[in-house]
């Protein structure tokens, strides 16, 4: 699994053209992985959310307190971490100051 992390963008609002451009980059990158038959699934996460803390305390998105947020993830088929890392090359998050965390998924019920 690749987890896309980046610093919150504050009040930055992309223009529709920038949004389109960004979607295109993401789709081309994911399409490239899918063209190799290595795609499993992906989801983008919205920037809004709530956090549940012990004791039933609910806070709105904790983004002010942390340096980065998770923007989404993709699950790919790879034989090892190195192969997954090479698939991560070119991920659009790398061009906007973010980074990709590559982790192995462990199945709970083998």
């Amino acid at each position: 699994m690749m987890i896309f992390r980046m610093a919150p963008m504050g009040d930055f609002q992309p223009t529709p053209e920038q949004m389109q451009e960004s979607i295109k980059h993401w789709q081309d990158w994911i399409g490239s992985i899918a063209a190799q038959g290595k795609f499993v699934s992906t989801n983008q996460l919205s920037f809004t959310g709530k956090t549940l803390k012990p004791g039933g305390v609910v806070t709105d998105g904790p983004y002010a307190e942390i340096k980065e947020i998770v923007g989404g993830y993709i699950i790919v088929k790879a034989n090892d971490l190195d192969e997954a890392l090479s698939l991560a090359q070119g991920c659009p998050i790398l061009f906007v100051g973010g980074h990709v965390e590559v982790r192995e998924v462990i199945q709970l019920n083998p």
């Binding site: 399409g31 490239s32 063209a35 190799q36």
Partner: protein
Amino acid sequence: MDNLVSQLFRTEFRKIVSVLTRTFGLSHIDIAEDIVADTFLLASETWGKKGYPDNPRAWLYTVAKNKTKDYLKRNSLLKKKIELDLKKEGISSELIEIEISNEIIKDSELRMMFAICHPSIPIESQTGLALRILFGFGIEEIADAFLTNKETINKRLHRAKEKLREEKIEFELPGEQDISQRLSSVYLILYLLFNEGYYSTSQNALIRKDICFQAMQLAYILTENEKTNTPELNALIALMCFHSSRFEARMRADEIILLEEQDNSKWDYHLIQTGEFYLNTSAKGKKISKYHLEAAIAYWHTQPNNLDSKWSTILNYYNLLLQLEYSPIIALNRTYAVYQTYGREKAIQEALKLNLNSHHQYHALLGTLYSNFDNALAIEHLSKACELSKSENEKRLIQNKIDKLKQEPN
């Protein structure tokens, strides 16, 4: 067979077999098939001698009905069994009545489609059985379409019918709960058969066209019932229309002409418009199926090449299609769209990641990408493609490209 008889055979065989199968049940589909075949034989003989009846279609239905009654008179055991089955359903059955009306015919056709495209039957058998019963194809024609012999087809059909019995598949419309899954199986078979007709390497162009035409007819039948008329079906029909519009343009004698080399004036613009209508109708609901994406790609291929957004849009649809379902051919087509959108270098980069060394189309694509860039590499890949290809036509096309490159100064 004369023209009218063979024409009626294509349209009515499926209908009469389906109606009779209501009486006999799917496990005796052979009997229904034989009776209808006999009926057409008799039509051929009688009409040849005495001329056509006033209403040839009605004649066929009456004769098939009488033959069925005669058959049941001679086979009292089967008759008793059928009567018993009817009694279980609470229908009095002193006389087995065979009812024929437009509604009954339509309903029977639908039931037959669902029965033949039942997910418990192997796909290969489904397609064979569909060609036989739904398309009214002869064994020889099926063998020709699948590039195999009659014996193989006979065995395949036999196994398919055995499966119908073993799985005790009911001759009925699926209930609310399974209908969407069962419909997917029906769409898939129509899609596979259409593609078989469209892309098959069979030399017989008439049969191939006929397969595509019949697949479309069945798809149209599904639009007439609100339960089976889904956005996905409309997308499938749109796809079939766009492909069919290029039928005349893509064949020259016995070879296939690539899209970019086709003469646009030979495209059937009426079919393209029909396709656009169905594509618009398909834009409902939440689900984007592979038929939606393939239809959208086929639509954009009908648009002029100088349209700025054409290739980046096609690339995007290929990206989405591959996320739904991977296939080597789609991966290669996507790479061609990368070439058209971003140019040669990016496309070569993407192609080399594909790991499809054993596919001749992979080498053909790399041959194209390297042409007039690194001709030595281009020739190497084209030669490999030539070696791997199984079609003589294709080998010749590729060889032509190699010869041309060899004449160019590198």
